[in-house]
Symmetry: C2
């Protein structure tokens, strides 16, 4: 078989460790130059492939590629762009194959969540159908931890660590202030459908130091009266409490808490968050002083407090993806298999993409306490290893020394422009 | 002179390093047992003194006191409680002296911002007037960096580092996403009157890596048209930008941006932040996709990414306060004097409380660029050393190993209860 080039792209919301997967892919491919030619990256994800805007990663030094391991965000740019079904937009799939053919690309590594697993699967199928077989390997990434099969998802451990650490720190803060000031602190975290990130907030409370923390999961319909009763009880017992609310929390009718039809003085609609709504409910219901924070991008970009096990797994899945390609595998994803909780042991297994694509993994009910406001010991055992260890980036002049790649373009070979 | 006990209390909003000052006070006092008896701490700040709710710090182990150095928040509890003037509430001052007398307290260490410097000054004066001389020493603390005389204020360097690091990380995130998704990221930071914390966001952009960051300072009246023009230009040039907005930003009439008279669908008032308002202005004015975050307590509690120079200065001011007391000083505050920017050298000097109390230090106009949206090189030289160095806490099971003190009460000696 003639030596083929590889294509790598980042998809969807980026994380603190998706570049560690890129690092795993590129460093491993560089070790197999007899079998894999150049690694081309898509500028801004799959759009780079569609528009033939490829980045030549061979122009990057070994040091720059190594620095991807400690650099958050998508080093090559990502995108939110879901390919339509083959029936709806066959032209896009054909175009991808044309670009891959033009650049002698035989390996397709796609680093993303559930949607991109689906795209990856389709591309492996269309390659076959169009007579240009590609080996398509999906590299898992999502802060939401909602991919099936894999025990956990690279990107999640670091956001979980950030939320656990931040919840602990902020809870210490409100504990100091509650006598005369703030009694309830509300932190809004990501997770539109699954409550994994919110659950991490509960890890701030431990057996050796129990802290009053209420978690609001998207899996549990919001019950205002029950919530207020719980907060009131905690404030009466401890003097204060922290509420960690998932952005996706909704009531029994499916209406998001963050969607309260807010209007400013001129009647303009305002996009609020769930945190200020919860804070308002606490103020109105209990009359206590509150503070609220919305972590938003800070949580998923927080490479400065990344989980060591998460960084290791992000790198390992990237490395494994290349190794699977070298073994001739197609339509698969390296998945994390947990061997033991304590000491934490894991290995990489192989999942079929058809089993991964378009499936969401929610918090199991037995991970959530009966009252719906906390996590069970089972959940705690699951989460504990994922936030283990620190993996600090190097610093220069007080700031993390992240890398910005040169991202030099590969000369185009196809005529005309492809409109997306 | 008979050996006197010391009183220490934490005041106002807590920080990532106020406990490092407490550590400096207590460890230094313990080294001078010949001159200073016990260190009593006020439970929840000055309220602990008024209500005779004193904590016996001698019950804490050396290891526990040492751990205060890496523990955020107020280990003894803080409060927002400003003593009225002597004319308005003489009874409170007399009560303090009664409590101090009852517990043989001769040293008063008050750890706080401008208001507490004023309280500290008054207490030194009333002690004298009531025939119970006290040595009152103020230990500077405020994330706002708005105390005069001292070059910078313990607590500020760490929040500045957190904001600089978080702005860098989130800007990398939006840089990755801007092609098809978020183009403007808005981060709201603390600073009701002074823009020091917001200024720190601009440190994420450096000479070696210039990033499109817009800062909104409370010192500059918000000009919507100029702001939109600036953001538009940056988005056109770079494809994206980050806006760091101080919570205290207001228009030319003094109206806070965060005070937009928000109402929910039922007409209930909602307390919004400045970030969602700025995001709304960007959306309405430019029609681009945005994300926003509000750091709130996360920023001032973020001991996990504290500045090493800040921790050192917080400890040094606590230590120096005790040394000043031993030298017989009264009505003073240890202040940080900068000797050189690079290499960063500083020492502790002595400031008179009358020069510190009730004065706010704002960003000088020549620290802000002419257009009002950035910082000058002069400001950069000032800020750079303050975010230098990392001072990581120890971790256990993935979380920082913060200390929670025993905080055992001292037996009361006075009859009755004092109502505050």
């Amino acid at each position: 078989m003639a030596k083929k080039n590889a294509f790598y792209a980042q998809s969807g919301g980026v994380t603190a460790v998706i570049n560690a997967s890129a690092c795993g892919v590129i460093e491993t491919a560089r070790k197999h130059k007899d079998k894999i030619g150049k690694v081309y990256a898509g500028r801004n994800g799959i759009i780079g492939a569609l528009t033939e805007d490829l980045i030549d990663t061979t122009k990057e030094s070994a040091a720059a590629i190594a620095a991807l391991r400690h650099t958050p965000s998508g080093g090559f740019g990502s995108c939110r762009y879901k390919l339509k079904s083959l029936e709806q937009n066959r032209r896009e799939y054909e175009r991808l194959i044309e670009v891959f053919k033009a650049h002698n690309i035989g390996y397709f590594f796609y680093n993303g969540g559930g949607d991109s697993a689906d795209t990856c699967l389709k591309i492996s199928q269309i390659g076959e159908a169009l007579g240009y077989p590609l080996q398509a390997i999906h590299v898992p990434k999502t802060v939401d931890n909602d991919l099936p099969i894999t025990d956990n998802c690279p990107g999640f451990g670091s956001v979980a660590k950030y939320i656990a650490v931040s919840t602990l720190e902020a809870t210490f803060d409100v504990r100091s202030m509650h006598k005369t000031s703030t009694k309830v602190f509300v932190l809004e975290v990501m997770g539109r459908h699954a409550g994994w990130i919110a659950a991490a907030g509960a890890m701030a409370s431990t057996k050796s130091l129990e802290l009053p923390i209420v978690i609001l999961f998207p899996e549990i319909a919001f019950d205002k009266a029950a919530f207020l009763a719980r907060v009131d009880a905690l404030v009466k017992e401890h003097g204060y409490c922290t509420v960690v609310v998932s952005e996706g929390v909704h009531d029994a009718d499916g209406k998001f808490l963050s969607d309260q039809g807010l209007r400013d003085a001129f009647g303009h609609a305002q996009l609020g968050g769930a945190a200020p709504v919860i804070a308002g409910i606490v103020k109105e219901g209990l009359g206590v002083k509150y503070h609220w924070a919305v972590a938003d991008y800070l949580q998923r970009a927080a490479r400065h407090i990344a989980s060591k096990s998460d960084v290791a797994q992000a790198y390992a899945t990237g490395k494994s993806a290349v190794e699977l390609a070298l073994k001739g595998r197609n339509s698969v994803m390296p998945a994390i298999k947990r061997i033991s909780d304590k000491p934490y042991k894991w290995k990489i297994e192989v999942a079929e993409l058809k089993d991964v694509a378009n499936k969401e993994k929610f918090m199991p009910r037995d991970f959530i306490t009966k009252d719906g406001f906390g996590i069970t010991d089972k959940c705690r055992r699951y989460l504990a290893p994922l936030i283990q260890g620190e993996d600090y980036p190097p610093y220069k002049d007080g700031l993390p020394a992240f890398v910005t790649l040169k991202n030099m373009a590969v000369a185009k070979k196809l005529p005309g422009e492809f409109k997306i």
